[in-house]
Symmetry: C2
Subunit: 106 residues, 2 copies
């Protein structure tokens, strides 16, 4: 029998400390996203009630400009901030289309 | 000349209120993401210093399980939470590969 492979080293303390911070931030992100989707579900129901279209390009364009500016101030890549908003908005529009498709057309 | 098209109605007050909350949450998300990338940049530098690989499948698998559980508790779709983490991790790995490629090999 060959000698057993060297067991993987315990991650260094500094790595564990950083991962703890990342885990805390991720928990905050998940909870904020849950609140954000509550708001957008309400927006979806309101738009369906009023017969407004799920997507609103003017609003989305203003959101992108604002988030890019906030990102630049916060030291976050504005290109990433825009990709992030697009990622969220794609999910929101999917929710809104689901809501609209559940309503009787009239 | 035909009559001018009816001007678009001002969005209803309830929609404006919800959009205000969404904008506040988005500002918080952008600032948390900026902090998260500071942590992962530090992780990237540490890994490059120690010669550790940029990606760590075991860690990522534990993060996914944890975030799915947190999402379920918070009323967020766990499938979305996992897609969200994958979206962020893809950006992080890109940063780490950039950091590693800037270091002399050997």
């Amino acid at each position: 029998m060959s000698a057993p492979a060297e067991p993987p080293a315990e991650p260094p303390a500094e790595l564990l400390r950083l991962r703890g911070s990342i885990d805390n931030i991720d928990a905050a992100l998940v909870h904020l996203l849950a609140e954000r989707f509550k708001c957008t579900q309400d927006v979806g129901r309101l738009k369906a009630d009023l017969g407004l279209p799920p997507s609103d390009p003017g609003r989305e364009s203003r959101q992108i400009d604002r988030l890019r500016a906030l990102a630049a101030e916060a030291g976050l890549d504005p290109v990433f901030a825009e990709k992030f908003l697009n990622f969220i908005v794609a999910e929101v529009i999917r929710h809104h289309e689901d809501i609209a498709s559940e309503r009787p057309q009239g």
